[in-house]
């Protein structure tokens, strides 16, 4: 597994950075937030991104994709993270799209992936139920009925749920809350009777929803993969999404750090720039080391997915836990080093802090990943 980018990958990253600097700098997130934009993102811009191939990076060429890998997609995520780009890469391409890619039948793939790759369809994965990520803690029930399945339950923190054109719902067709067996994935139309979507406004200004299912009936053809074996798809997709999100976090924390170092070089106190104070220098150097470690593990995890390495789950947990801890440290240090101006809404650094905490709690906090890592390692 290579831990340096190829020239093509560097070029892709560079292009992404330039495109984002021009079309979707941090001020764009602020604009969407302040305008209380009902969509919460710019679908026109998403179409442009799709035209650059971003929506189909992972998908086979027959569906209009680029058939590239996670190392490539990771570079796009990282650059999006740098500018806090509010676009449905995670929700549509990796999470829900990933479920179709990994487990869908030919009809589903052709229909869904082609539309996603073209930037014409948005998806969401309705999965989490409580306040915490816990993949098999699914109480939502799907009961077999003559005309299909009846879904009952309540999903929280459904990313981009209120604007999704289709929603992948994880429900239990058998077993008990907590079991890995008995989960089934359904591709659901948001207009389905009994399905209620409520947008929830999050601290980071990004899209999230509640999805409530009250006797919502879906057809048998909506099942993705095998009934009761959904965890086989879901676990793979969550690993991949965890790493993609880690790449985004790497971008966010790197940018927060770069901004902070710049600030240390310009802000004056007591007649000197504050970057001359040794206590701050040492803290900055420590952050630098954390970021270097973070970058390495994210790159290794991305490569492992592309190599279909058996360590992928292990590395996904490593990468996410490390990103969680690094983004926590750097977000908090950044605010403290900025001082008073850092806690004003006017200064962008606060937007990084808010996004930091949301990403930390998305797809598993550090304690959860530590526990999973230990289990995977046999202790």
């Amino acid at each position: 597994m290579a831990l340096v980018l190829t020239e093509e990958q560097e070029l892709l990253k560079q292009t992404a950075r330039e495109f984002i600097q021009e079309k979707s700098p941090v001020s764009e997130l602020r604009r969407l937030r302040d305008a209380r934009d009902p969509t919460g993102l710019d679908r026109g811009l998403w179409k442009e991104m799709a035209e650059l191939g971003w929506a189909g990076v992972l998908y086979p060429e027959e569906y209009g994709g680029m058939d590239l890998g996670y190392v490539e997609l990771g570079q796009i995520f990282e650059e999006c993270g740098r500018a806090l780009v509010a676009q449905p890469l995670l929700s549509t391409v990796v999470l829900a799209g990933g479920c179709v890619l990994e487990g869908g039948n030919e009809t589903q793939k052709k229909d869904v992936l082609t539309a996603v790759a073209a930037g014409e369809r948005l998806l969401a994965l309705a999965h989490q139920e409580g306040a915490h990520h816990d993949p098999h803690a699914i109480a939502t029930r799907a009961e077999s009925k003559p005309d299909g399945y009846e879904l009952n339950g309540r999903k929280t923190f459904v990313l981009d749920g209120h604007i999704a054109d289709q929603i992948v719902v994880v429900a239990r067709t058998s077993g008990e809350n907590g079991d890995r067996d008995g989960l089934t994935l359904f591709l659901v139309d948001p207009d389905t009777a009994g399905l209620e979507i409520t947008r929830t406004l999050m601290v980071d200004g990004r899209n999230s929803s509640l999805v409530e299912l009250d006797r919502a009936v879906v057809s048998r053809t909506s099942v993705i993969g095998e009934v009761g074996r959904g965890a086989n798809i879901l676990d793979r997709v969550l690993d991949r999404a965890t790493v993609a999100l880690s790449a985004e976090m790497l971008g966010t924390l790197s940018e927060a750090f770069d901004k902070t170092v710049d600030y240390l070089k310009t802000r004056e106190q007591f007649g000197q720039v504050i970057g001359t104070f040794q206590a701050l220098k040492h803290r900055a150097a420590q952050m630098f080391v954390e970021i270097e470690l973070t970058r390495s593990i994210v790159l290794e995890a991305l490569s492992a997915i592309d190599a279909d390495d058996s360590d992928t789950s292990l590395l996904a947990s490593c990468a996410k836990a490390r990103c969680n801890d690094a983004i926590f440290m750097i977000g908090n240090e950044a605010i403290q080093m900025y001082g008073g101006i850092g806690v004003t809404d006017e200064e962008d650094i606060g937007l990084f802090l808010k996004r930091a905490r949301v990403t930390q709690l998305t797809l598993g906090n550090s304690a959860w990943h530590l526990g999973r890592f230990a289990t995977l390692q046999g202790y």
């Binding site: 929830t200 008073g340 802090l353 709690l361």
Partner: protein, 397 residues
């Protein structure tokens, strides 16, 4: 019966008579806190009634001399008043920077006329005071302030700006650091000036924080005329007064840490059990259980330390520069508390407003964001560490 016992009886019956029933309910909302001031004088409600009565008695500032409107009580008597008020659940009648910050330095540095003029108003909550210290360019380096007051013969002319002025948009008067001698070394050219916020030339602009709206303002002074008898202490001696005032402010902020600032009204373990689950009476997730226990232990150690410092002070050893420790640890601890709550409450504590979150959850999000300012305002954690290293440990510059 000892004098103190009979004092207690008198205090009891006075409080029983004077404290309106509604003022014996716990403080629940920001609006329940009474700051006094000119605008308040026009109100006619229980809060004002309680303030008027307690203020007339001088018991808003029980140990201040009676000649300046204070209660003139001994420390023992003041403690009795406090105990008796707590016993009947009486709310503080007044929260005020005049009491906690300005008053003590006026008592120490102001001239007789100034004490007579300003202190009774503070005691009775007639004037809402705000603090004009920080400036945009001068954060931790407070003494590099630029706001200047020029001597124009019969008055000073104030020009400049202040930032982080809490409630500048509501306050009546300001105590303000101004540069009166630009040629002097930076600590020597500063004076301590009082003036009316209604003076022509004062404009105010509120500051939005990452947590949303805030009491902080940016305050601009353009050719504000200030009578010369409103300078406290000697011309150019403002820095000494400023430092003393900061000590008062720090003890106040450090002591605030807990209970204030909303957030879940339940205990942290209860929050943990609700959001992380419970197995055999334990918090289900062992990592969360440990973090909760660690936090509660640290809280216990900190409160023991606060009590120890109070006992030592009573026994004749005031904390001095060690008080920086309370500001430092108290605020860092409050930040940790909110981070812990966020991690326990998960994505439910990251809502901004609207559907999908309880009022308590939304309040926690805001309180968490607000807490980031704690280790910056009133002297950053780094400044406290510098003070401890230099003035307590004696490490050289």
């Amino acid at each position: 019966m000892s004098d103190l016992e009979s004092f207690r009886q008198r205090a009891q019956s006075w409080l029983e008579e004077s404290c309106p029933a509604s003022m014996r309910e716990p403080v629940q909302h920001q609006q329940d806190i009474e700051w006094g001031g000119r605008a308040a004088q026009e109100r006619n409600d229980d809060k004002m009634l309680w303030l008027e009565r307690l203020g007339k008695q001088g018991w808003t500032c029980p140990t201040w001399p009676a000649e300046y409107g204070g209660g003139g009580l001994s420390n023992e008597e003041a403690k009795i008043v406090q105990e008796e008020m707590r016993r009947i659940g009486a709310r503080p009648a007044l929260t005020s920077f005049g009491i906690s910050m300005l008053g003590p330095v006026l008592l120490e540095y102001a001239n007789e006329d100034q004490k007579k003029r300003f202190l009774p108003e503070i005691v009775q909550g007639k004037i809402w005071w705000c603090q004009g210290y920080s400036e945009p360019g001068a954060g931790s380096d407070l003494a590099s302030l630029q706001c200047r007051a020029e001597d124009k013969g019969d008055h000073y002319l104030v020009n400049g700006q202040k930032i982080w002025t809490s409630y500048a948009d509501k306050a009546d008067w300001i105590f303000c650091l101004v540069r009166t001698d630009p040629a002097a070394p930076k600590h020597d050219g500063i004076s301590f000036l009082l003036f009316d916020m209604a003076s022509p030339g004062v404009t105010i602009s509120p500051i939005a924080l990452i947590s949303g709206a805030s009491p902080f303002c940016q305050t601009f002074f353009e050719d504000v005329k200030v009578p010369k008898d409103q300078i406290v202490g000697k011309l150019g001696s403002g820095w000494t007064i400023a430092k003393r005032l900061l000590q008062h402010e720090r003890s106040m902020i450090g002591g605030m840490g807990f209970g204030i600032g909303g957030g879940p009204s339940r205990t942290i373990p209860d929050v943990a059990k609700e959001y992380c689950g419970e197995v055999d009476g334990r918090i289900a997730d062992p990592a969360s259980r440990q973090r909760v226990a660690q936090f509660q232990m640290d809280q216990r150690c900190f409160s023991a330390t606060t009590r120890r410092a109070a006992e030592e002070a009573k026994a004749g050893t005031p904390p001095g520069p060690k008080s920086s420790m309370f500001k430092l640890y108290g605020t860092e601890m409050n930040k940790r508390r909110h981070e812990l709550l966020i991690s326990l409450m998960g994505t439910q504590a990251l809502g901004w407003e609207g559907d999908g979150f309880s009022a308590e959850e939304l309040a926690e999000t805001r309180d968490w964001l607000r807490s980031f300012g704690n280790s910056i305002e009133g002297g950053t954690s780094e400044v406290q560490l510098n003070i401890l290293a230099k003035r307590v440990l004696g490490l050289p510059d």
